[in-house]
Symmetry: D2
Subunit: 130 residues, 4 copies
């Protein structure tokens, strides 16, 4: 299925006193990759949210293989794993500028109605574009 | 006028590769001090916001005197500077556990109606408690 | 094995535009729980690090069950899962103030020498206290 | 004197429950602008730091004029204000994609030797490039 790549530059504020990117920041990188994936599908996540469809995270799994450093240019690869239902699953790989795999991850999210906070099926306009 | 003190413990994730707390995190510390000041006045900021009164920040001034380190216990002193109108001004001092002054700051905030995003006067129940 | 509990209050800055704590902040909560677990063992993680033993995260798994909100008081329960070798595994449960389980998580970390960045066995003074 | 512009895209995680970028994140935006200014001067800040010259922040002043929102493309304009001595002063303007000025700021930083943590004069290779 569809795959996208998103470039990011590591910020100074993302490092910690070990001299590497703090592991807690990677959830942001996957989110940026995932929202970029959705936007590249031709869907504005911003608009989808303002129309009442939220996409909160149900689970997150990350494997940290190598460190990332201040000023590194990293690339987030985002993959859709299967046809979404009420849930949507992504996998991620992050590569550094030497093309080394530094992190892999999986997330599961759920389509939710803003009105009543209940799960809903993946919108048709979303399914049609996959 | 009223002054409060709020204790905080520095988180590992708040450090950067210089080995000290990243300067960008202090805005959070002042916010925690300020919201604690409001809560100690007997007003729930959470409730105030849910009732439609927001309090965004207009300006922030910080002087960084000494560094803070992972695991430090710091104390945020929060002062109200003058009677609030549509605006409310706080000053802050942060001390480390050796009682050294490490940071001073000022913020100016504005009471805003959630409905139309316009400035409003400080609520009466707020003024009465000062 | 040993279990500790750590209280935290949700910060305003930890919320996102869904009105709940952004999922990316939970890695910080687990880290605070884990470092508190180590400190309550009678070991200063700060000192351990300054003596050249680092403890980076290898993997992180999180299940998000319920949302947390600004001003919530949450409790992080941290468990050691098995006797550490070069690796150390923790599990976590976070409860809100209504004592509802809101998040579960697992992390695997590795003891590393600061000098050469190589894995090392869990220090004896650490093992003796478990 | 020299001026640079740096483009940034607002991250979802940078919003708070008011639905706008949390004011605490702007310090990161100015830092990104400032480090980009230095890099565009032909100096690697990363290398400068690894060679023992640090540049901590002494003071920060921010005026928040308009809000920024998730997915906004903002532009940070960074200006050097005067010839650096041991201190270096920058000013910043942030514009949104409608070219509206949303934030102005000033920072003062100091060149410091990593060895003894003492202020030092701005390196010659830095002055020569200005």
């Amino acid at each position: 299925m569809k795959k996208t790549t998103t470039k990011l530059k590591i910020r100074y504020s993302e490092t910690d006193q070990m001299g590497v990117v703090h592991h807690g920041n990677y959830a942001q990188f996957f989110e940026i990759g995932r929202l970029d994936w959705i936007n590249k599908l031709g869907i504005s996540y911003k608009k989808m949210e303002s129309e009442g469809v939220l996409l909160p995270v149900l689970s997150l799994e990350v494997n940290f293989i190598k460190s990332a450093y201040y000023d590194d240019e990293i690339v987030v690869h985002t993959y859709l794993i299967e046809k979404p239902t009420a849930k949507i699953k992504f996998e991620y790989e992050i590569y550094n500028s030497s093309n080394e795999l530094i992190t892999t991850a999986k997330t599961e999210l759920v389509f939710v109605s803003k009105k009543n906070n209940k799960p809903i099926r993946c919108p048709n306009y979303f399914l049609e574009r996959i």
